[in-house]
């Protein structure tokens, strides 16, 4: 149950963004991916999900290459990119339900309501997402974390657009997930107040 990355190299156009990148992430660990703008964080996260093809190296899940056991890997993965993956015409509940169903798990309306309420969206269950503010949309997307039982969360700048209350809430959710034996990989330019022993830090600027 661990994610092992070995001598990974990715390039955009003709330029290698990073090379020889290796790390190992075990359950109960959170990895904070750092780096200046344009250092390749988004590219790395998408590569780990299998959305972007890497040039060299190897990514292993439970000791097997993710290319060969893609299906089990995907069942354990939750990726939340820069985009929210919400349908603007559906309301939060419908959005969350379809996304869960797609991931192969069906959730009840009580569960979604509970998740939305925790994220301060009580009263917005029936509002089309289009009518929510930036931060509210982000909150809906993040509610997925509470509904999924994926082990590995990959989050690209999850704190963007959130206000102070929501940032704290998300941090506590991350900590809880990690304490329960989950794994998290995230990028953010804000400070992350999480105990150093639980946290792996990886700075991409060093791999150029």
């Amino acid at each position: 149950m661990s994610l092992v990355v070995n001598q990974l190299q990715c390039s955009r156009g003709d330029i290698a963004l990073f090379e020889g990148l290796s790390f190992k992430l075990i359950p109960g660990q959170l990895m904070w991916l750092e780096g200046r703008n344009g250092s390749g964080k988004t590219t790395l996260l998408r590569t780990l999900c299998g959305l972007f093809l890497y040039d060299k190296g190897r990514i292993e899940w439970q000791g097997e290459s993710t290319v060969s056991n893609m299906d089990t890997y995907r069942q354990n993965l939750l990726y939340l990119g820069h985009q929210n993956a919400l349908k603007h015409d559906l309301n939060p509940v419908e959005n969350l339900q379809t996304l869960s169903r797609l991931a192969g798990k069906s959730v009840s309306e009580e569960q979604t309501d509970e998740a939305l309420q925790l994220f301060g969206l009580a009263g917005y269950e029936e509002t089309p997402v289009r009518k929510l503010s930036q931060g509210q949309q982000r909150r809906v997307a993040l509610s997925r974390l509470l509904l999924s039982d994926a082990l590995l969360w990959i989050l690209d700048e999850p704190f963007v657009a959130l206000d102070v209350v929501a940032v704290e809430l998300l941090q506590s959710i991350l900590v809880k997930h990690v304490e329960q034996g989950g794994m998290v990989i995230l990028t953010t330019h804000q400070a992350l107040p999480i105990a150093e022993d639980k946290m792996l830090r990886l700075c991409l600027d060093r791999y150029v």
Binding site: T72, L77, Y79, A85, L99, L102, G104
Partner: protein, 223 residues
């Protein structure tokens, strides 16, 4: 697997219910295109009957390609497509779900509205019948082929018109046999069976290959 197929179809139908106008726009586009041709060509009954099969089929091709622009575009823009690609289900099944929902919402209505076009062009009842059957077999083919084009042009500027470009030439067999059958049924003494069989074979081919090709194209386009 079947569960996520159902979830996707259901979601797309739900979305369409929320924006019912979407379904009607495709229909109306078809009707308007069919209706403006006589204004540019002629109102004579003989000429209208002569051009009817071609006009109806070209209008159907155009309506279907234009509607196709949206089949993946929205999912791509809001990131849902990435999530679909990341599920553990076989992608071609999910893609098939999307194509199926799309046909229900755009192809089927065309079949049902076609008699109106037939009346405008003074076609007889049997000819209209043939036209509907041919559209029923032909429009799913259009959706299938079109989906590949839509997947390939995903997120590119000028999507709509670019798809038409890729896809319209591929539609030609459907156009030729579809309108051929209608013309044949107007003459009355020709057997229509070969037309049906050819189009059915083509449909089968599309059913087997299109979801798979679309899935592959999507993976390429999203990277």
């Amino acid at each position: 697997m079947f569960d996520s197929f159902r979830a996707l179809v259901k979601r797309d139908l739900l979305l369409a219910m929320r924006r019912r106008s979407d379904v009607f726009t495709v229909l109306l586009f078809f009707i308007i295109v069919v209706s403006i041709f006589p204004l540019g060509i002629s109102f004579e009954k003989a000429i209208l009957q002569k051009i009817a099969p071609g006009v109806v089929w070209v209008a159907a091709l155009l309506a279907s390609t234009l509607a196709l622009e949206r089949i993946f575009a929205n999912d791509y823009a809001d990131g849902t497509l990435e999530q679909i690609l990341l599920t553990a289900q076989p992608l071609s099944i999910l893609v098939f779900a999307k194509i199926f929902a799309h046909w229900l919402l755009t192809g089927l209505p065309l079949v049902l509205i076609a008699p109106l076009a037939g009346l405008q062009y003074h076609l007889s009842a049997t000819t209209i019948g043939t036209m509907m059957v041919m559209l029923l077999i032909g429009t799913p083919i259009l959706s299938m082929i079109g989906a590949i084009g839509a997947a390939l042009t995903l997120g590119l500027r000028g999507g709509g018109i670019l798809i038409s470009l890729l896809v319209l030439p591929l539609y030609i067999p459907v156009l030729v046999y579809g309108s051929g059958a209608i013309e044949a049924s107007m003459q009355g003494d020709v057997s229509l069976q070969p037309y049906y069989l050819l189009l059915l074979a083509f449909l089968l081919l599309a059913l087997v290959f299109a979801p798979w090709a679309t899935a592959a194209s999507l993976r390429i386009s999203v990277e």
